[in-house]
Amino acid sequence: MYLDFSGTFARSDLLVHAGIFTVVLSAVTVLLGLIVGVIGAAMRLSRSRLLSGIAAAYVEIIRNTPFLVQIYIVYFGLPQLGIRISAVVAAVLSLTLYAGAYITEIVRAGILTVPKGQVEAARTLGLGPYLTFRHVVMVPALSAIFPALTSQFVLIMLASSVVSVISVPELTGVANDIQGQTFRSLEAFLVVAAIYLVVTAAFKALYALIDRQLFSFRYMGR
């Protein structure tokens, strides 16, 4: 066994583009997933049994089926119903649905950590339902769940590798193309694994920075 990275390194421009694609794809789906997750959590905790039931069913279905099968249903199944979407749209849609379910559960747990009295106090002081939710519930809830949320974001970035199966040009897909051209499969995937590690580390550092910025009150007096 010997390793020859020359073919893979010769295609480093492809890898750079694919790396950027992976970063953008995961950033977009994390943001969309966060929106879905906040709405999902609000539905899950609403007094309406219908809304809460829909949100619960959504979370259970997504969390108990493989992401790969979800992609196949979106990309190969929807056209059967006359809905044709491109591979990239299918990737964003399935990743958002997947991310949204996990984020719903995390946000829900966060909202439950906010004591009821705090909400009642805000309402008594004259804050409307929206302002109460936004400032009195979401901010402390998000600060409580931020670590869990960011490790979920990293998992979403790693899960984005799976969309390579519908030929979306992200890192894993491009590694597959490169190994097809160079016939040095192990080398291509080792290099891509290293890139994922760097991206993981970069995202973790970024999240730590955001944590300090956004929730500076947690660090006060330390």
Binding site: N64, T65, Q70, L158, A193, Y196, L197
Partner: protein, 218 residues
């Protein structure tokens, strides 16, 4: 007729393929469990280079997509000149993956047992191995069982990725049926339903274990 119609015979075929999904999951959990226990022990070792080694291993495996890990295991073994059946190649990839996650879960469980327990068993003259065997592990198990069962849900779902490296399990069988019938929606919804049943049962067991154990502790 050019295409087959998605029928009960196909569902039976999918259910037969589910056996391979379950077998691969079992291989991943058994071997991942054995190596995961070693990773957990290294991670809490008194000897710092061993601790760092385990940390680095966990960091690398948890920071790499499972799909890439599977490709590395698959092509790496081939580069070593080993011509292994797909179950073994996929099994190696999943063992790497499961051992890192189980190692981290079990380290947390062992550390959840208070220091006083170690000190107490040390004071009673128990060796490290005896403290572990009779004092720490029985208590750590209570903490470890719910997240371990919960992780097995992840393993069952993620075995779907083995279909990409050519292992014929439930998802790959779904692809085969889908190309034969040209009814991907029905086929993949059926595939999803089979996973859903398996994973819901495991999720329920995890929550049930959590409730049982927490009630007993109270």
């Amino acid at each position: 007729m050019m295409f087959q119609h998605f029928s009960l015979a196909h569902v039976v075929y999918l259910l037969r393929a589910t056996e391979w999904t379950l077998l691969l999951s079992a291989v991943a959990l058994v071997f991942g469990g054995i190596f995961g226990a070693i990773v957990a022990l290294l991670r809490i070792s008194a000897y710092s280079p061993l601790r760092w080694l385990a940390r680095a291993y966990i960091y690398v495996v948890q920071g790499t997509p499972l799909l890439v890990l599977l490709f590395i295991a698959y092509f790496g073994l081939a580069d070593l000149g080993l011509d292994l059946p797909p179950l073994v190649a996929a099994g190696v990839g999943f063992t790497l993956y499961a051992s890192a996650f189980l190692g981290e879960i079990w380290r947390g469980s062992i550390e959840a047992v208070g220091r006083g327990q170690w000190e107490g068993s040390g004071a009673l003259g128990l060796s490290w191995a005896q403290s572990m065997r009779y004092v720490i592990v029985p208590q750590a198990l209570k903490v470890a069982i719910p997240p371990t069962v919960g992780f097995s849900v992840q393993v069952v779902k993620n075995t779907a990725l083995a279909s990409i490296v050519g292992f014929i399990e439930l998802t790959r069988a779904g692809q085969i049926v889908s190309s034969a019938t040209f009814q991907p929606l029905q086929v993949y919804l059926t595939v999803a339903a089979i996973y859903f049943v398996i994973c819901s049962v495991l999720s329920y067991l995890s929550r049930f274990a959590d409730r049982r154990i927490n009630t007993n502790a109270a």
